[in-house]
Symmetry: C2
Subunit: 239 residues, 2 copies
């Protein structure tokens, strides 16, 4: 029996129509469609995005990826997920894994693919790029993310204030992903630097319930959800 | 007569199937389809990407954007392009502008949109995000662009060696866009830092003639085309 192929498919940031034509073609042709299982028995983010595209004959398989930092717990989950996917591949099924955002950009798929490759070097994996959150957020804001020779820094987390200060010194545009837990400290730095008026928060970009916050001087405190991003234009390039 | 809408549509990095479902829907519904004119009477990059998607009744309008740095020449070209587009919008036509890569990411569309908005504040502009070159290149390389808490710096040009050194000190992943003109100097810095084996060049990502260069220690000199990108993994995050 010929091995099936595992496809990592970027499904974009929320709007189901932001999947690429290629991603949709491969998604709909796959025998098995997997995605990170939602929490509290709710559907996951990627699962919701693709639900309208699924075909009646397709089998959906949620995979469990815990939201923890413990490396042992994580690796155990990756191995379980890899074992499930491997079984389908061995039976000759093509498996599509739906990734929220872009498959190469801070994606859970990376761990699944790496674990599978380690356990079964003969596995065949292909990925389809897609829309990632910084460019999606810029479109929502109706502004460019970057122009001309602007330098861009993307920080997925911030551990020290100094780190953000260095980024603001170096780049014209800084994007902070998953900013909810550090928003208050970040706000203070932006205030000190006079950057609150050239910063924007986009929560759940391209989702039906997305929110945009500007004039951040009026928002020292924001209760944001996990998928919230802060875009800072350190220097305004003349257009 | 109601004004038409100007749509900035991201068409991805080369593979025509990397346009989003939304982008394709709006592109094919537009009365007028514009794109940056190619050089030397050849079709432009975005034009080639969308050619298979165009409908017989659609009018295509190449717009001239010169590849120069002179601000006066540039502004004059933007104004001419804006005047052409505005005429169609005033006649009630919806106009789609096809952008190579993502419309918010170092795109010519930004200048057209800014010029139009300045001249005609009543203009209605919408953008559709898409696949940008760093994530497309990562997919081509079959590796993640970023994982976990990795910091990402994207440099569209390099003016000083110190600038690249600072970026390499700060981030786990550094991407240099349009690296062709500075490749030799960059190569020397990567050699000094022992990073040649964790650096990759992707030329024309997702195009039919795309090329990948790895083991850069054997490639101190490369003749690269304009759309070449260098991806540097400064620190290998364990997977």
């Amino acid at each position: 029996m010929q091995l099936g192929i595992l496809y990592g498919i970027s499904v974009g940031t929320g709007d189901p129509e932001l999947i690429t034509v290629k991603g949709l073609r491969i998604l709909q042709a796959a025998d098995i469609v997997t995605f990170p299982q939602g929490i509290n028995n709710k559907p996951g983010v990627a699962q919701k995005i693709i639900s309208q595209w699924l075909q009646p004959q397709q089998t959906t398989v949620p995979l469990y990826f815990p939201y923890v930092r413990d490396q042992n717990i994580l690796e155990s989950a990756w191995q379980k997920a890899a074992a499930i996917v491997w079984q389908y591949l061995q039976q000759g099924n093509n498996v599509a894994f739906a990734c929220e955002g872009d498959v190469s950009f801070y994606s859970t798929f990376t761990y699944l693919a790496a674990t599978l490759t380690k356990l079964h070097p003969e596995v065949v994996i292909e990925t389809v790029p897609g829309v990632c959150s910084p460019t999606a957020a810029a479109s929502e804001l109706q502004m460019p993310l970057t122009v001309s020779n602007e330098r861009l820094i993307i920080l997925p987390a911030i551990y020290t204030v100094a780190e953000l200060e260095t980024a603001l010194d170096l780049a014209e545009v800084v994007v902070l992903l998953k900013v909810s837990s550090v928003y208050k400290q970040v706000w203070q730095i932006l205030q000190k630097r006079g950057l609150l008026e050239s910063s924007w928060v986009v929560e759940k970009a391209t989702c039906s319930d997305r929110k945009i916050y500007h004039n951040l001087q009026y928002h020292p405190h924001l209760q944001l959800s996990y998928f919230s991003l802060l875009l800072i234009r350190v220097l305004k390039t003349a257009l």
